[in-house]
């Protein structure tokens, strides 16, 4: 008698399962999943709020990232006492749009804060972000010194560090950095922006900056990164201070993959992603993909 080999047994089992599941309406699920959401969206146009909205739309809408009842942190760069035109801080309209979209997607509360490098009273006001975010319905508070707690970051450079607890308590983090020049890191984008969620002596991080920001990206894992390249700072970063270093790109790029967005930022700036020291480290760590050629990139134009 012929013995049932293991291979045949498995085949039978598979066929049986297939037959049992065939009548299910699989088609509905498949059609909902296609076309697959792009990895990176590039959105261009004159209105910051409209291109931000279009970028999120192209990614599948805010409800893909924010669930009903979520507490969301929208984390801009408002570290410096500079006006928005000087491109040292995230575009306030972009921040306000994200806040609005989160609330529309059912978020319970949207928080906006940054552990500013300069006096937060000045940075929050000068950057225009406090007014814009509050106007859109966000809770904007200064960082409370008591709420930093030393945590195990399990990083390569950052073993333990002071982390702002409110950033740990929220359900989702939406990282919205600005693309700009930075003398130590070359460019500061998404991963570097997460330094605004930690305390301690951040100056010392600059000795191992590339590794440190990768550690932060692995630790915080934002749900979405929206990179502001509406006005970029081409030199003298991260503070700038003169309009002659500001270039108007009218672009927003967004996606889930932190590495891909920073890589796209480098390309928008005119650099190869591999020139950014932190990207190979992050890709190797498995945080995302930096090879833009292999990613699904979608360009949208948001002009009225």
């Amino acid at each position: 008698m012929s013995k049932l080999t293991r291979r045949e047994a498995l085949k039978l089992l598979l066929a049986g399962t297939g037959a049992a599941l065939a009548p299910w309406p699989w088609g509905n699920f498949v059609s909902a999943a296609t076309p697959p959401a792009p990895d990176v969206v590039i959105s261009k146009g004159a209105s910051p709020s409209r291109i931000t909205e279009a970028a999120i739309q192209a990614l599948g809408g805010m409800s893909r990232f924010v669930s009903r009842g979520d507490v969301v942190l929208v984390k801009p760069n408002m570290a410096w006492d500079r006006k928005p035109e000087l491109a040292a801080t995230t575009n306030p309209e972009l921040v306000a749009t994200l806040v609005r979209l989160c609330l529309a997607a059912g978020a319970k509360e949207v928080k906006v804060f940054d552990n500013a490098l300069e006096d937060p009273r000045r940075a929050y006001v000068s950057s225009g972000i406090m007014a814009a975010a509050k106007g859109a319905g966000a809770t904007v508070r200064y960082v409370d010194e008591r709420r930093f707690r030393k945590m195990d970051l399990k990083g390569e450079a950052l073993k333990t560090w002071e982390v702002y607890q409110e950033a740990m308590e929220v359900d989702k983090i939406i990282n919205c950095p600005i693309l700009k020049h930075h003398t130590t890191a070359r460019l500061t984008m998404g991963m570097k922006n997460l330094m605004g969620l930690i305390g301690g002596d951040r100056g010392r991080l600059h000795w191992h900056l590339d590794q440190a920001i990768v550690d932060l990206a692995a630790f915080f894992k934002p749900a979405l990164v929206v990179l502001d390249a509406i006005r970029i700072l081409t030199a003298n970063g991260p503070q700038g201070g003169s309009l002659k270093y500001v270039k108007q790109l009218n672009t927003v790029t967004a996606g889930v993959d932190q590495v891909a967005i920073d890589a796209m930022g480098a390309r928008l700036f005119g650099l190869r992603p591999a020139e950014m020291a932190h990207l190979p480290i992050a890709a190797k760590r498995g945080l995302g993909r930096m090879d833009l050629g292999k990613l699904r990139i979608k360009e949208v134009q948001a002009d009225s």
Binding site: D81, Y124, M130, H206, Q239, G241
Partner: protein, 502 residues
């Protein structure tokens, strides 16, 4: 007090209605500024209103306006009974006039030290440098304790209260001040003197009180004790400044702060205040005591007021200023600055970074408690112009943001023996990142160096002395906290207008 907390910063460029309003009504500051620097600070002309009221009524300012007087009255409630009834001796009363003469004479010889003893300056300084930091610390400690204990309902309530206090009352960040304890001790001594005699400061020491006391001599406002007086001496016992008298005694007009309590307390309703009361229906005589200074004391204070000038001005620091004495932006040239600054400490209170600190001897004996930058405590924020906005005497000019950005308060120098890229051959760059000038005053040079790891190209910071404004943020942020590898000195400050090699 409310105004004091209002002198806080909310993020805009201008600051609302600050506490200096009291200083503007202070004629002592007007007179001494006038004498020492021969200018009339227009804002201080408001104090002529005080002079007018004093001429007409008397020391109403002391009784009804002066915040230190009010505080003394509050403390006066603690005066032991046996001390309440004893009036202050004339010897002590005269002290304030001698002090006034001393201050006026020295300011005539261009030494401005009125601010040390002027009640308004003294109060604002004490609150800013000593009281507020202490209250802040206590509040933070208390609420921190409750926050960490995390008791269900209690912590929720305490956090709500704390949020409110933080928003409206407490300082944004815990302030730290050199000499806070010293200035606080003097302030406590003044308040505790109430235990010896009520309003001891006002009657024995206050130079502004003395000035107003002299002015009030020609005021037509009088206190009259009428015929009903039974010499029960209730008014004498209850008078907080020991100025009241019964029908036989003399009213010490220069001491009276017109609180009106004697009129209210008199069981026979015999005490009246009014203009030319002798013509009115109330019968009785108002005898008025003179100020009665002794020639010996007057000459002593006059001579010492003259001698103090060479004494403080012959220290070596008066000859050559210390390099680390960095003044706030907008400060007048040093001589002029010292003649105007009244050490009220408002600039230190509003300084965003807590970088402005009271000097002790850094500016010579003459500059005690004048503001100086300490770049260990803070730095000068690039766009901030608050110190110039609150200065009551114009010792710090009010600068526009453009002017501020151009004003050099010093220059930065790198200590290459400590700076990490120079000393260790490792890139660091924190100073460059924070340098706020639009074209960075800290730039990089690319160099190839020999390290234990072989030949390497690194970037090292260099300073462009033309662009550096000496704001001190590089020194403050330098990761070598113990002894920064980049420091600012006062060389090159705009106000000195010195010829420099670059």
């Amino acid at each position: 007090m409310a105004l004091f907390t209002l002198t806080a910063y909310k993020g805009t460029d201008e600051i609302a209605y600050p506490v200096r309003i009291f200083l503007r009504f202070d004629p002592l500051i007007l007179v001494t500024t006038l004498l020492s620097s021969h200018v009339v600070p227009t804002a201080l002309l408001l104090s002529l209103i005080t002079v007018f009221f004093t001429l007409v009524f008397g020391r109403v300012f002391c009784g009804w306006v002066c915040p230190l007087g009010t505080l003394n009255d509050c403390m006066g409630r603690l005066t032991p009974k046996e001390n309440r009834r004893k009036p202050l001796g004339d010897q002590l009363r005269r002290l304030k006039y001698y002090g006034l003469v001393f201050i006026l004479v020295s300011s005539l010889f261009t030494l401005q030290i009125a601010g040390l003893a002027d009640p308004i300056s003294l109060l604002i300084r004490s609150l800013a440098v000593a009281v507020e930091p202490a209250i802040n610390l206590m509040a933070h400690t208390l609420f921190d304790l409750l926050y960490r204990a995390h008791i269900p309902v209690v912590t929720d309530v305490s956090e709500a209260v704390y949020a409110f206090l933080k928003n409206y009352v407490l300082a944004f960040r815990q302030p730290f001040f050199y000499q806070g304890a010293f200035i606080g001790l003097i302030f406590s001594a003044i308040l505790l003197a109430n235990l010896f005699r009520r309003r001891f400061w006002c009657t024995a020491l206050c130079p502004l009180g003395a000035l107003l006391g002299i002015i009030t001599r020609i005021s037509p406002f009088k206190r009259v004790v009428g015929k009903g007086c039974t010499s029960c001496n209730l008014c004498v016992k209850e008078c907080r400044t020991g100025a009241a008298s019964d029908v036989k005694g003399e009213w010490k007009k220069a001491e009276c702060v017109l609180c009106g309590e004697c009129q209210e307390d008199c069981p026979e309703d015999a005490v009246r205040f009014g203009f030319f009361p002798a013509l009115g229906p109330a019968v009785g005589r108002g005898k008025v005591a003179g100020i009665d200074l002794q020639r010996r004391g007057l000459i002593t204070s006059l001579v010492s007021g003259i001698l103090i000038v060479p004494i403080v001005r012959t220290t070596p620091l008066a000859k050559r200023r210390a390099g680390r004495l960095i003044r706030p932006p907008g400060a007048l040239p040093e001589d002029e600055f010292l003649r105007r600054c009244v050490r009220c400490g408002e600039c230190m209170k509003v300084c965003l970074t807590n970088g402005l600190q009271p000097a002790l001897l850094e500016a010579g004996l003459e500059g005690v408690w004048t503001p100086r930058f300490d770049f260990h405590s803070g730095y000068c924020q690039y766009y901030c112009t608050l110190c110039g906005q609150v200065c009551p005497t114009g010792a710090l000019r009010k600068l526009s943001q453009e002017e501020k950005a151009r004003t050099k308060i010093g220059l930065a120098y790198i200590d290459k023996n400590r700076c990490i890229p120079y000393a260790q051959g490792v890139e660091c760059l924190v100073c460059e990142e924070h340098c706020p000038t639009p074209d960075k005053a800290i730039k990089f040079e690319q160099v190839e160096i020999m390290t234990p790891r072989g030949r390497q190209r690194i970037r090292r910071p260099v300073i462009d002395l033309k662009l550096c404004i000496g704001c001190g943020i590089c020194e403050y942020k330098c990761p070598l906290h113990d002894q920064p590898a980049i420091i600012c000195t006062r060389l090159g400050e705009s106000r000195a207008d010195e010829l420099l090699p670059f």
